[in-house]
Symmetry: C3
């Protein structure tokens, strides 16, 4: 859509040449036919170097906008982003008539659904009522159990097992808020990318990214009823035990282990070989690799055990 | 069914005129062709004013029964209610041949199921393997993703998004217990009513009411794997984050926020604009609006932070 | 497969007579046409009395191997077991053409799937998109709601209700680990057995056993989003409330009650009539019946309440 048309919808003015905008993106990743936004001052350095053609921005940051980027001034950049995201939202189901490419050796149940432009590799098994959205790619030998729903544009590697009922690529939980307390959906136009040899248990939920990808690397093993928020990156050979969950936008090194019913906050960086005990919550980034944490608030595991012993003494 | 027939099944006597009883209901809501019960003395005032035609009641409360209401004396009123609820249970699937009403602009996948008497509004999208039970109503522009199961009599507003795998209107978790430790199902004959502009994540579960409705008001946003117990009422623009849960029969004011992996006990009243932090549990009603709570047991958030600091000092 | 062929795949030597091995099993349960393993010295007494034809075992335990059992020496017996388990893995879907046996009074939705050799009893109702795997048995009057997935070999009793989206018999979460941090799947060749009068809520996950059965006895009532790990045995009339979970291989006496969002560790023995409060975790076996526990770490409930009072005093 032309920038002028977008600005009309958003009731914003702009100075500069009109241009076709093809999508929204982060300040760092936006190309010069994309539009971006800044909501949090910690991204000011990214604003200074962005290649975005236009950016939703508060006037107070105007000195940080590159000369090649058009400023769209607003005191609610995140809310405007939400309204803009709807313009670029993908269709729920395509209807342009592009055939999927299904390898002859794949076993597709007659009640499985394979969307437009999907690619299904050799020996893939799609069981009854599996839903494979448009432009999904699934590589060889992967098994998709019944009633699994894989939303559009998801990529899944080879030798994976996805157990029944899991949902991959549903919308991340992202909203901007109006001054009157309503929540405006930020359409999630990224995807999910899953590596090779990944096993995902029953009734898990893995959200698509708002921009870019939610990434699960090779060899990860995910138990039942696990929730993975949008834009997480999970390192190779990580293990997420039953009913655990990750909020959005955290990055995990390889061989991360998350205990049952535990959680991790959003926007963290977790060093490789970190372990979180069961029923705990990690709320801070971890720089040193190989450590184990427990509790909420969490402590190093040995410290947590000592603390629990101290607490129990209060009874005496 | 005639009261006399019901009493035969329940092995109870009654004095008074026989009458067709059309359903069970609470003391407050029962009409004079319905039957009710009292199990907890805190509802004695409701007993005094009930319009129920008959009531399952312990003899010790006999002085509180209105003269227009027939007493069905039993020392196990809740257990008798459970047996009675089966009499009035809806069919799992109707077979009376009532066609659904589907707007011509709705897009219904060939593998979606639409039950008897259902009403599907304009531009509604039902994706593959969606199940829409009998007499469900879905208003315009709502999207129902694959393998969503919506049980009979559920009502869903306009512009809603229901992500894959969610279950709406399944039975609330209600049982009476025999003296020998068995659990007798209380059939859940209420429904679920969801307002406009509500988004529900993947693999959530929202239980139907035992009587009346489980209610989710306009603008609520619900993340993945969230559980909502029967007979809750959730105020406008509330947010329930991933893997959180509500036990039954609690009422929440507008803009309630429940953090990830947190829970709320049953039978509470929560003031508007209440926030519960992640991994916490609220077990008491909240009268003052706008407060934030954390922990389990929960404290006001600032107090909880101070308490955690004090606890950490035990290590020194 | 012949022991010699198995050993070739596992790159192991053996001394003794070659023989057809029909499956893997525990030391205690293995018959003399089965293969077993020992990984943990606490099973040394079982090694001494095993009837397994061959056993994967570290050389240091060689004095404990019965003369009738062939030793397969390896310093990674659990990892070798993982590789061996793949040899004996069941097919995802059979294709030998064995018809299911469906009682004439059963109501099977046209979009439900019934696998080879399955047995569906009188008055069973299978709703749309239910998946009934190969050789599953479901007894009379049981209702299976939409998009429920029941994996092969599961057995379900009479008068059960399985709510929408639940997954029964998916693979237990079992992996052996290589020295370089990869996880090798232990194929789960056991099953799930569910008694009579059991109700299972929406979007639950109940894992199949690695060997033998995950067992849920008569009269159990399970709420929504509950996770049950492989090889658990749950006593009669137990109640598991919403979003609670059991790790693998624990055994529970009758009338066990697990509160909402609570969990129990693996390999425990829990006495009958034990109750765990909401948002708690039980990590030790319980010998005395009838007690209630709360918290994490858990205490007897009254003690936990006293402890919370003491902790709250830290604020003063």
């Amino acid at each position: 859509m032309l920038l002028s048309e977008i600005c009309k919808i958003l009731t914003l003015d702009f100075k500069g040449e009109d241009k076709e905008i093809i999508s929204l993106n982060t300040l760092d990743d936006a190309k010069n036919n994309e539009m971006s936004f800044i909501d949090n001052p910690k991204y000011l350095s990214s604003l200074k170097t962005t290649k975005a053609y236009a950016v939703l921005v508060d006037k107070k940051y105007q000195d940080n906008i590159p000369s090649s980027t058009i400023a769209l001034f607003t005191d609610e950049p995140y809310l405007k982003l939400a309204y803009a995201s709807k313009i670029f939202a993908s269709k729920v189901l395509e209807d342009s008539g592009v055939y999927p490419e299904v390898d002859k050796s794949a076993k597709i149940s007659p009640t499985a659904y394979v969307g437009e432009g999907a690619k299904i590799g050799a020996n893939v098994q799609l069981l009854p009522n599996a839903f494979i959205g448009d432009y999904v790619e699934i590589k060889e030998n992967t098994i998709v159990y019944p009633s699994v729903s894989i939303y559009r544009n998801t990529k899944i590697g080879k030798n994976c097992i996805i157990h029944a009922g899991s949902v991959i690529g549903s919308d991340g939980f992202g909203f901007a808020h109006t001054k009157t307390g309503e929540h405006i959906k930020i359409y999630q136009n990224g995807n999910v990318e899953i590596g090779d040899n990944v096993e995902i248990g029953g009734n898990c939920t893995i959200d698509r990214a708002v921009f870019g990808s939610t990434i699960i690397k090779n060899g990860c093993k995910i138990d039942n009823l696990v929730h993975i928020g949008h834009n997480c990156t999970i390192g190779e050979h990580s293990i997420l035990v039953g009913q655990s969950g990750l909020a959005g936008s955290s990055t995990f090194g390889r061989n991360f282990v998350l205990g049952a019913q535990s959680g991790v906050s959003g926007h963290l960086n977790i060093a490789p070989f970190t372990t979180v005990a069961a029923k705990s919550a990690l709320t801070k980034s971890i720089k040193e690799s190989g450590k184990t944490f427990a509790g909420f608030p969490s402590f190093e595991h040995r410290k947590w055990l000592r603390l629990q012993a101290k607490i129990a003494k209060l009874l005496k």
